[in-house]
């Protein structure tokens, strides 16, 4: 089984300057859901990803606020405009202080 925090990013094999590129990203994470006991939610520190930060060329370009209604092993896709070669980084933050990152090196071809 894959470990928590493993990140995979998928980008097209050929990118031209100015392309709007679709990116697919996945992180292994349980996205723990609220347990119920006698019809009431159990109070505990649930373990799930609650923020995703996308940065391109070291600048933040998007930020997602996520909840337990996102499926286990969260998958996200988004677009960004590839203006220059450089890193596209996706950072996942969870409620237990975990921080998981994946980086795609944007090159033009």
């Amino acid at each position: 089984m894959a470990d928590i925090g493993l990140v995979r990013i998928r980008i097209p094999s050929s990118i031209k300057p100015g392309d709007v590129v679709k990116v697919r990203v996945l992180v292994i994470h349980p996205m723990e859901i609220v347990q119920r006991k006698d019809g009431k939610p159990v109070d505990k520190n649930y373990h799930f990803i609650n923020r995703v930060v996308v940065s391109y060329l070291a600048k933040e370009i998007a930020q997602f606020e996520t909840t337990q209604s996102i499926s286990e092993n969260p998958f996200f896709a988004f677009a960004f405009k590839a203006t220059e070669p450089g890193p596209l980084r996706v950072t996942f933050l969870d409620t237990h202080g975990g921080k998981y990152e994946g980086t795609a090196d944007i090159k033009f071809s």
């Binding site: 990140v7 990013i9 992180v27 799930f48 609650n50 286990e72 405009k81 975990g98 921080k99 998981y100």
Partner: protein, 171 residues
């Protein structure tokens, strides 16, 4: 479907090998950095209330007018969910993403979930396109809404029904 190269994140295995060389492998958790002291962000108080979708809409948007966005929002959802735990959804808003005319946020709301707000995607013009996709957990058959908040504060909404069934022959 685009073919792409896989860019791996820093895996636990790779990190262990690197730290092992430094004699530090015993310190690794599953995070890239040492976890910051957990602020219990996942406890019930931080999750917000279980509420009706009307209460969520009121809390998020107050009395602001919400226009029908069916002509500019493409909301893709299966009619019948394979499995309520993983329901793929994608949202594409027709907007040029210039600084004046861009989508600054997309909200995903599932009416019948106990906490209807599923996610809020905060975007910038650098995205080039107002497109997001993810997998949702739906507790039961429900309407799913995508609300786009434009740079000028205007709100547009599209919604679709998803039926969640399990089991049975052909279920």
């Amino acid at each position: 479907m685009e073919r792409g190269r896989n860019e791996g994140g820093i895996t636990r295995r790779a990190l262990l090998r690197a730290l092992g060389a430094l004699g530090l492998s015993g310190l690794v958790g599953s995070a890239v950095e040492r976890p910051r002291p957990a602020a219990a962000q996942g406890n019930l108080a931080s999750l917000g209330p279980e509420e009706s979708v009307d209460a969520t809409m009121k809390r998020l948007f107050g009395g602001r007018p919400i226009k029908d966005g069916a002509s500019s929002i493409k909301l893709d959802l299966p009619l019948i969910a394979e499995n309520g735990a993983v329901v793929p959804v994608s949202v594409e808003v027709d907007a040029p993403m210039t600084p004046q005319r861009s989508v600054k946020a997309i909200y995903l709301i599932a009416d019948k979930n106990r906490r209807p707000l599923n996610a809020k995607f905060n975007l910038t013009p650098a995205m080039g396109q107002a497109y997001v996709s993810t997998n949702l957990r739906l507790g039961e058959s429900t309407d799913v809404r995508a609300i786009a908040e434009m740079a000028d504060g205007a709100l547009l909404m599209a919604k679709r029904e998803v039926k969640v069934t399990i089991g049975g022959c052909g279920g």
